[in-house]
Amino acid sequence: MRNLIAFPLIALAVIFQSAVISRMTLLSGYADLLLILLAGWALQPQVRSAWHWAFVVALFVGYLTKLPWPVTALGYFAVVFVAQMLQRRIWQAPLLAMFTVTFIGTMVMHLLSYAALFVAGSPIPLGDALGFVTLPSLLLNLLFAIPMYTFMRDLARWVYPGEEVE
């Protein structure tokens, strides 16, 4: 039942992303709060609802963004996939896993966005996309990764009490 916290939490994160984070730009890039929230959640060992959360995130973001819904959904599902794959392999170093998931997730999401825009007929110069959008966004995502991981760890303990895996 406590998993239902996903709806208000993700709705709040989407609002925060759209109203605040999107204005905090570095060159032309900005952080993707939803991506790192999902990465932080999916990396918690006791969490079993990461795919559901990814669906809710894709639903909310797809409602707001101009990007096609399958692109955002695919991107966020990819984040969960990578997180769960890494979580089993490098569970001893959760922060390293968080950084890795954030890095791979950001690159996958931007690659999908780039491809979607290319197919939609508004191609972007690759150098501009990489230098002005992807790398600054990646840096900001990595900056937000540690506090977000800590927050999601505490949240996971609250959602799954007594199921902490050491």
């Binding site: 707001l64 101009k66 990007l67 996309a129 002005f132």
Partner: protein, 280 residues
């Protein structure tokens, strides 16, 4: 009887002596002696008074510090409240200034009808330049309506729900607008980019375009009304080997500080796609 007489005489003599001394003192005959006396008296009184004051301070000071601290906390709370009020009022002043500019703009362009809206969000993807406004179909907003500020064109409505709408900015990589260069008297196409820079393309090689030239919407294509200000030419790139000239544009609007915008509600975009010849 004799005793009574002698006692009265003593009293009278004492009164006379004291009265005489007093009279002499008031007459200034004992000034040096009285000065010494009053001086010693004042010194003693000063010493006693200061000691008493010190003792009184010692016993009452803790209570004063407590009350002062409480008062200080009250004043600090009041200062914080007033500072918050100042910030809120400053924000209202800024909003009022923006609204006044928008009202001036709408008055100076009476041919259009406007609906004011606040910018409440941006697209979560950094590849796209879209903003979300707090007016939707319930307020008469429809897809394709142009959106402006008092400084110039910012974009057009891309999608609408009941109480909100998404606006594609002219800086979006997918944006493409037919424009007219006023001084050069020629048409061109304005295009956005992922970095937010705006460029002009398809400028005829015959046209003489110079930095500072004003760029307006041309109205061609039916997507936007004519004569909306977009910006100025910053630099021109002209190569003989290319078919057209290109130019870098400084938009009139500061897209990083969009707060309140106007939607032109009496403009309906024309869909010319059926008229565009398709390749066989």
């Amino acid at each position: 009887m004799k005793d009574l007489f002698s006692r009265s005489l003593q009293t009278t003599i004492i009164f006379l002596i004291v009265g005489g001394i007093l009279a002499l003192a008031l007459g200034g005959f004992f000034s040096s002696a009285s000065n010494q006396f009053t001086g010693s008296l004042v010194s003693v009184q000063t010493w006693v008074s200061t000691r008493v004051q010190a003792l009184q301070d010692f016993f009452t000071a803790p209570r004063d510090i407590a009350s002062l601290r409480a008062r200080n906390a009250e004043l600090q709370a009041e200062v914080s409240q007033l500072q918050a009020q100042v910030i809120e009022l400053q924000q209202r002043v800024n909003e009022t200034e923006v609204l006044r500019a928008l009202v001036d703009f709408s008055r100076s362009n009476p041919e259009s009808t406007y609906r004011a809206a606040a910018v409440i969000g941006r697209d979560p993807s950094p590849f796209l330049h879209y903003v979300v406004i707090n007016r939707g179909s319930n307020d008469g907003i429809r897809r394709g309506m142009p959106v402006v500020t008092n400084q110039g064109l910012i974009g057009r409505i891309d999608a609408v729900i009941a109480d909100a709408a998404r606006v594609q900015l002219i800086t979006d990589p997918a944006a493409s607008i037919n424009v007219h260069l006023q001084n050069a008297n020629t048409d061109a196409v304005l295009m956005g980019s992922v970095t937010g820079d705006v460029t002009l393309d398809m400028i005829s090689q015959d046209a003489t375009v110079e930095p500072g030239d004003l760029i307006l919407t041309s109205g061609l294509g039916g997507g936007y009304p004519a004569n909306l200000i977009i910006g100025q030419v910053v630099s021109v790139r002209s190569l003989d080997v290319e078919l057209f000239q290109q130019a870098v544009v400084q938009p009139a609007v500061d897209f990083a500080r969009l707060e309140i915008v106007l939607v032109i509600t009496n403009f309906r975009p024309v869909d010319i796609s059926p008229l565009v010849p398709t390749t066989p």
